[in-house]
Symmetry: D2
Subunit: 332 residues, 4 copies
């Protein structure tokens, strides 16, 4: 039985609480949120206690692991304190928007020897993971090209954009992690292009809303990612891995398999599942289940802290490329 403290009782925190409760090998022990009412609601629903403070939760000997689903600017602090308290950590992405902070956190927890997983749940989406596994098994021979399409259904408010860290650190960071996961080797070159095409307010906030990136690994594998903050037809999430012997694709999902034919069109399907709670519901559940299994069996959870750090390095490199008009080399 793995016993959890939950930090953050917002939408994602609640989703995690539900998934923990549904796992027969895990239990939610306590919940902390700066908003006491939110903490109390979640605690009550899943038979847990409200922790008065983070320290109280970390001091609780019944807590084996922490789930960090609070705001991004608290992640580094909570990871550090939890690791130092000897708790296993599952922290929502990103670790932080500032690589210096991430590096400091890395040093601070270096000796703690606790399992840390970062919530890049797309690795656990059954469709994308199907691509990963096919590639790993050699089904397409040598992987040569990877193409990731990732478009949100609608843009966030400009107020969010302003504190988001920008498209590369906030949105494409998922795709950077997924790319590293499937490529199976480190990326050494990043080139980025971007535009403001969706909402001028995003441009006024200093960000872009449309982007195309090309990356290369040491062995020459090529990877393209495109992002848009708006796709009228729903949450567009596709992965295409192309290799010497073939291609494997993770396609989009709709709620049903219903297909319509009329005088004006055939093969008509519904719009795509609208956003990540629906599209990646299985992924959230699978990730937490795998974390529980990994910790219980002394297996290193994946993606780990360093995966979280490297995704941010790629986001920073993309931003530098966007600004400089140059391909950026990564040597780390």
């Amino acid at each position: 039985m793995l016993r959890f403290a939950l930090f953050g009782a917002g939408r994602i925190g609640r989703l995690h609480a539900e998934n923990v409760s549904a796992n027969p090998d895990a239990r939610l022990v306590c919940v902390y949120d700066v908003n006491g009412t939110a903490a109390s609601e979640v605690a009550q629903k899943y038979g847990a206690e409200v922790a008065p403070t983070v320290d109280a939760a970390l001091a609780n000997p019944e807590v084996d692991a922490v789930l960090i689903a609070s705001s991004t600017n608290t992640h580094v602090d909570l990871i550090t304190r939890s690791a130092q308290a000897g708790k296993a950590v599952l922290c929502e992405k990103p670790i932080d928007l500032d690589i210096a902070q991430v590096n400091r956190c890395r040093e601070a927890i270096a000796g703690c020897n606790v399992p840390v997983q970062i919530g890049f749940n797309r690795r656990y989406d059954p469709n994308h993971r199907g691509v990963f596994e096919a590639v790993k098994k050699g089904e397409i021979g040598q992987l040569e090209q990877l193409v990731i399409t990732s478009r949100d259904p609608s843009p966030p408010p400009a107020s969010y954009v302003a504190v988001s860290g920008g498209l590369f650190r906030d949105m494409m960071i998922h795709d950077f992690d997924l790319a590293r996961f499937i490529l199976g080797e480190e990326i050494v070159e990043v080139t980025a292009s971007g535009s403001v095409l969706v909402d001028p307010a995003i441009g006024e906030a200093g960000d872009i809303d449309s982007a195309m990136v090309v990356m290369k690994t040491a062995s020459g594998k090529l990877c393209h990612i495109n992002n848009s903050r708006r796709a009228s037809y729903g949450y567009d999430q596709r992965v295409e891995a192309f290799g010497s012997l073939g291609m494997v694709i993770s396609n989009n999902r709709t709620a049903t398999t219903v297909e319509r034919y009329s005088a004006s069109a055939t093969g008509v399907r519904e719009p795509l599942l609208n956003f990540f709670i629906d599209r990646y519901g299985d992924a959230y559940r699978n990730q937490i289940n795998d974390f529980i299994d990994a910790v219980r069996n002394n297996r290193a959870p994946s993606p780990g802290f360093d995966d979280g750090r490297r995704a941010l390095l790629l986001a920073d490199a993309a931003l530098e490329s966007l600004r400089s008009g140059r391909t950026v080399q990564l040597n780390d």
Copy 2:
């Protein structure tokens, strides 16, 4: 809050228990099974009691409704006693294999005035229901032809076949109900053909394993159903509704959207979801949720007792047609 007694703690009973527990407006109160160990396991898992007898469960004033998931030959007795005890009833299909029994049950419960739902869950599959709704809204104009393909992944043992009531009453009965649901009017003619192509043991047991039926409604709508006891590629479950303005199809489901390309093939998908627990998991859940909602809001549940009876009448008519080589008229 709707409080349930569960009769039958086998595979389907457990599935129902889980779905009842997941519904915030329902609770499992007690479980009865001739196998006390099974009853006990389910009761414990969902915080319910073991009922020592059916009578004890029906006498329990905390029980509002019963879930009948015991063997087919107990259904009529349990429906009758539950209805007479004033409990709402959700009974697995079929009501019985013998129409005379079904008719007696109908008389016996006629004055009870309790809601009764029969577990033809395909009406609640989101894909098939999408077809039903499109037809009902007039999206395809006047419905003219309905084609239902329904093939099991692998044949049951001959021992099961011998007591199953035969392909029409055991397997195609689901499709008869689904056909009535989508056609929206009563069927007046049934013609059936059948063969033993899958397993000679099924023929030796006096049954067929492959069948094609054509039916007609009073207004002339045509319906075709085909069944096979074996589909190598998984559980094949499709519905096609064709009308004056178009066509709407409920297609098959696979576990993922992964698609493969190689030197020998393109567009390759996985085999279909293997059987009804996977394929109709949503349908089981949606049906019980709708039953709970219907009873709580004094709405008649669907499909009701008479739907269960009419599906059996169609199965009997198909069997008669198979034996006589004639189209059978239904006047009831």
Copy 3:
């Protein structure tokens, strides 16, 4: 070089003329039509002569083969005279609407020993033929069920219906031939249902416009065919062969592979190719090329005269079943 006389210079005759001209091993020598202007146009376009009479065409020693594309009621006479003149024959379907006429023709040409092909061109559609070949190679193991969907884009005028021989002899006859071709064994039982759902004028003309048929072969293989005189989304032509090891499907065709996504729909394709000239253009060409090759290499052309006769026997059996409400046995 195979040298042709063409009887009938209407739409289909012109199509045949074009296909003959495009074949490097064939040449159009002369054209006869009761409408001399039509004959003259076709003759001129393809460098052929106008034959003043049928007899003149058949007496021409330069003519090796005849293409019969005139009206149905002339087919038996022209087949008979052409065969007796020693010419190879490619005759449009059907041989005749009256089985007695067909039988007389069979006797009349029995001793002529000339190759005769009937224009059931669907055998030569690359998609349907792909199903035939997969079945023949054993890709799906033992064939168990065959489902043919065949719906015209729009109904013919009632005036045509009145002389057409009825839906079974005029429209489903193509599907009867295709069923025999793929089933690979003779059909022994036919059951038919039909309705007037598309156009009351068709009913007033004594015909049906919607039909469902189920047939069985000697070994128990089952076959379903459905027909409608109107499909709003285009010419719906599908074949599904189901067997012990799998299934193979010939799907519909659209003009392009363009797919649309919008706020209301995804995966949107065009309506289907509208009618047989487009849908079966390849089939017409492939059939005539195969006829030319067969005659030049002393190979029996397929489908032959007896295939044409058996398709009519099935159409007659379907009509008898529709009228009697009984399954009709075929013993021939």
Copy 4:
């Protein structure tokens, strides 16, 4: 009637000759090839004469237009001489591998006032053109992202690679033209990445075999192109246009619509059409028909000389970017 001289009687020249002959408004008058036998064969097949020299062909008053299908290094000379002789020109791509040559040709023919079309036939593929038209009609709102996938079935011999001008000028040049066509505005930035992943001999010849490019237009539209010299599953040719209101895709083509289901896979389709003669057969025909129509109606043919020049400018910019690791600006 448009009367053609054909320069070059190789594979593509023959294809053009056939398409000219099939057009009722055009006629092949004469053929010139350095290989007299090849010229003679084509001339004979289509009822044309052999021209003893280029000059003789250009001096022939019966020649209205020339088709240039000879080797790339002859294009500039033949375009120049043909234009100066007052003939309309349809020249295979590319104009030349050297932009200085192309610019000189542009000057030389500037005053000739003859229609010139360059053979970027993908603009005439019905599928890709469907995307172009949907974009132009505003079906997807404002175009924001364009993704072109273009992979050859198998790599050319290294000997060809050495004289090909390299992947960007030889292969991706088609995609550059298609991108410009659909984007509907000029590209101002090009960034390229490339690798040798398919065949080391291609690397030894100084070229790459795998490439990813990102481009931007003045208004900020983004475009990605990926190329590979080898796709095991056939000739992969896809276009995806994404905009504010939706997406439109030109998908790949297979020879038939046959779909297979088995114990190991569902939805299985054939490998893609193997190469450009099959895949773009319609495009070749449609382009030449449009050229004939344009010249006969004094409409400017498309793509014109300047389109050919701009595609080469993009290829040169991609090569410069690949070498420099910088985004290259285009100001022309």
